[in-house]
Symmetry: C2
Subunit: 340 residues, 2 copies
Amino acid sequence: MAGIKDVAERAGVAISTVSYVMSGKRSVRPETKLRVLRAARELGYFPNAGARMLRGERTNIVALSSPMHEYTDYTNYSAFFFAVAQRARRYGYDVLLLMGEDETEDLMRMADSGLVDGVLLLDVTLDDPRVACARLCRVPVVSIGIPRETDGVLCVDLDFELMGRWAVDRAVRLGHRRALLVGDQGDAYDNGSNYLIRTRDSVFARAAECGMAVEFIPSVGRTMDAVSASMERAFALDPAPTVIFGQCSLGQLNNIVGYCYSRGMGVPEDVSILALGTFGNAATMVRPLDEIPMLPFSSCGRAVDLLVEAIEGRRGDEGVVELIPSKYLRRGSMGAAPSA
Amino acid sequence: MAGIKDVAERAGVAISTVSYVMSGKRSVRPETKLRVLRAARELGYFPNAGARMLRGERTNIVALSSPMHEYTDYTNYSAFFFAVAQRARRYGYDVLLLMGEDETEDLMRMADSGLVDGVLLLDVTLDDPRVACARLCRVPVVSIGIPRETDGVLCVDLDFELMGRWAVDRAVRLGHRRALLVGDQGDAYDNGSNYLIRTRDSVFARAAECGMAVEFIPSVGRTMDAVSASMERAFALDPAPTVIFGQCSLGQLNNIVGYCYSRGMGVPEDVSILALGTFGNAATMVRPLDEIPMLPFSSCGRAVDLLVEAIEGRRGDEGVVELIPSKYLRRGSMGAAPSA
DNA sequence: CTGAAAGCGCTTACAG
DNA sequence: CTGAAAGCGCTTACAG
């Protein structure tokens, strides 16, 4: 509740002096400075954020746009939120969550109200309307995810094409010729969820290059029964797949392993399994799995780096697309293809 | 970038008229109003947030304080974030994440800078320093979690005492006399993480009343190997427990089930398992489990309700403690105790 | 029904 | 080394 005037009065100086002491933008006689600092501390003075904003000062807030949809499975989002918040904190920024369904309205409001210094877009779809907003915004915007049209925006993402290629290459090297790609819920692809499509298509493309057959089934549910039913159909194929790429949740992967075990199939003796886009947590499964994880701390961290650079004017608004390679974590669930 | 002056000029009115049109705080001639609205739309006008704050208007932002610690397992936090954000949105509020390690400093800064209209505390420990801050704050604060001293703060939480009693009562009714409580990581209790302690102690207390023996083991790790080692020791007891209460993550529960199966113990024929404080997702396990879940949407939703009431002055700052009952979800993993 | 002007709490160019 | 004052973009009491 104490303002700069109260501090000035208590310290016996002008408000400008208080301001300069706080900002350090000009040198102040040590004794004066001390009096001011003591007064500020005693009064519990914090500069009014509104007044600073009005003067065009940074707010040290970045918005994180992460719209909620009906189909949003938010289980793993906190990793992204934490990653963003942690890195932002390092630069002295706080994070304002924008989770309204109406993505673009929130965005324009924030960008033009002067409340935030920059914006991060999460969960960017191929034709995300927020990207068009980004081009109009007076604050810098960084997209975590690669839209179809990238010109004029800063984009960072994990290299999901590379993820797909790595998966296929590893399987092919182990002699596998028939793969099953278990996808996420079908509507996640329909809604253009970017990384899912990119990974899946990269698997398809690379498999075609390598002469490997790939069957794709989206998940229809998360329970053991739902997963079993899907797997049942997949393994009824002749010849049956010898390797499974799981582009799905850890729970579904658990059920896939459970299904294999229930059918008497050993991992990796009878079937190999590789998790794609998980969160490094397939190590904790009953049967730990090889995985090529998301690395949210890498992608989000880098996105914050770029955003802060842009905010502080150390970067123009030329388009940038940075792809970050994931890594391959071995847990022994990928083995040589069983000989026919 | 367009300001109220630009809108006024384009509409041919005074800035006060623009202001009144935007706020609706006084009636304006329909034609004038229309001209103003059109001008505002054409210029993409959004009121400057700083100027409004300076005038003491609401910012329509609430802070969500959720400090990150070394030991924080953030896997399930997004459910709370989403729950808060969703309900806040309904009232027209955005959410500012405060995740700095230094909990109280962030809090005071926010509360006194005028940037937020209210604050929510997440992950409140028994002697949480943020609660003391809350009493000093000039904005309302709602604690999600019950600290030791609740006077002068608004508190909402799930009824974890009831959760503990329900667990024990259900087991006792099924004839179980020896239980194993598998806890979260040990340091989570040491750091005073509120709900863990309350649930655990409630299990202890109720078990003592009912003449049931309870062995407690904190988790030492999340991998199958770590969980197996702990379970090994627990089942070496004579007589061995016939029911397991799992106050731990879904991954660890999966490993507990995996351990039981590997030892040839059926669930619930040989051992019953009940998950406490999970997120309704034990339905998707290979062996679905009975659970008494967290219900973040209930507790956080109610917390936002209270906060908004306080912000809008429809509630004094008398202390309030609201406990919300969870529910018991049956999945067939709790059965009659095997006869000795 | 509408407008001119004070003032919110800061920062900073200007003056000394 | 320090201060008096303009001005950021709004809201609202006052005036008509």
